[in-house]
Symmetry: C2
Subunit: 253 residues, 2 copies
């Protein structure tokens, strides 16, 4: 088994800890977190927690799941012992340090207390040296069926895509919920539509799956929708998204 | 069984036809479409097609699934015979005509050749008279487990919400796909993320499910993402959505 230490126990780290402990290839021997975590926060995880980097155990792999801005400093402060040090960021480049540098990026949206099926999560891996890559690939394949070799440039673009299809999509859900709640409509009525919209693009390119007033250049509906929206901010977004759909599909508004 | 004629065989109509024929309460006796449909287009449907409104059979219910702009004229041109005439639009008000007016609005995104599980689709119903409502409710309940009494005002707001959580969301998927394809990344890598984003809000309000650089006010990532985007249009959208998330969550950008 691959002796592994996890550094960081936030949204990503806490999920990786559970995935590592469920893996038959990974031996999670320790978890470092900057602050002390009470028992409630340690639940479902067996490994020992530390809050002092000086207490780090020797391991083959250190997985660093801390904030982007802290990654470089933290990795440079780790003792040099020819170990693999892999960060989990979608944005930070493959570093060049005194360690065997790697990237171990799970492409998913993590909420601390929301269980996930890890076998379905794509892991995007990168390492300069093939022997380093082989180790992190073995780790990733012991968790998930979806493992990809992705360059830093690709990963940064993937991260940008993820902001559109996850963070921004979620904000549009929130706007939908706002409108529903304001008019005493249960937001759950939209569940089936939200699911079908997400499922449809598995068999149809989203460019071809586009429907709605913007695509049809249905000005009457567009203008009525704009007049229904009370918040200036949502009006601007509605107009901008409508323009963008029209532009993509060569319609003149 | 409720003798029913369907008027219009576009995206919505073609799905309703299949749902009606599968229902044990509905007897679909005829389908009108403005233009002649060849056999390929009539497949999976047993009812007779006509293209001349003069050939309309007498029925208890006429379901009108035509473009919003055509609904009123079409319904007014139908012979007066005390039948229920229900349109299927998310936007058009409950009419007041010589018929027994009703609304039979299936809240879903329909593509002509994409099979759907109708039992899961919410039907939003409206009628002035309780006896009219009772008939369309019986029809809807014979298709779906999700049947709601929704006023015109609520339906119009629901339709607006649907544009945000379906049409606009799909456009964000299309932007994600554009970015992936431009950098030789298979768009399918984002499948699990797209699914989880849609699933997460079934147990968590989207307002609380929000993650990403905009929520964290992570200017470094935001600026890098903006510089990565080549299309002005997508840059504007990125900035606008980021501002809107910050505004909603009381962050100062």
């Amino acid at each position: 088994m691959i002796k592994t230490v996890l550094i960081g126990f936030g949204n990503v780290g806490s999920h990786l800890a559970r995935a590592f402990e469920a893996s038959s290839e990974i031996d999670l021997i320790q978890i470092y977190n900057r602050t002390y975590l009470d028992e409630a926060n340690q639940r479902e995880v067996q490994a020992n927690f530390i809050t002092d980097l000086k207490l780090l155990k020797k391991a083959e792999v250190y997985v660093v799941a801390v904030k982007d801005d802290c990654i470089s400093d933290l990795i440079n402060s780790l003792p040099s012992q020819n170990a693999i040090v892999a960060h989990t960021s979608g944005s930070v480049q493959l570093l060049e340090t005194q360690h065997r540098d790697a990237v171990f990026y799970p492409l998913q949206t993590f909420s601390k207390n929301k269980a996930l099926d890890y076998s379905n999560i794509p892991f995007c891996l990168e390492a300069k040296h093939p022997d380093t890559y082989a180790v992190i690939e073995k780790m990733a394949k012991s968790i998930s069926t979806k493992v990809h070799a992705i360059t830093t440039l690709q990963r940064q673009q993937l991260h940008l895509s993820a902001v559109f299809v996850c963070n921004f999509v979620n904000h549009l859900y929130a706007i939908g919920e706002d409108i529903c709640l304001k008019h005493q409509i249960p937001f759950e009525i939209l569940d089936a539509l939200i699911d079908e919209t997400a499922q449809k693009i598995k068999t149809l390119s989203p460019t071809h799956a586009q429907t709605g007033p913007a695509l049809r250049n249905d000005q009457k509906t567009i203008q009525r929708h704009l007049s229904q929206l009370e918040e200036t901010n949502y009006k601007v977004l509605y107009q901008q998204l409508t323009n963008s759909i029209a532009l993509k599909h060569g319609k003149k508004l």
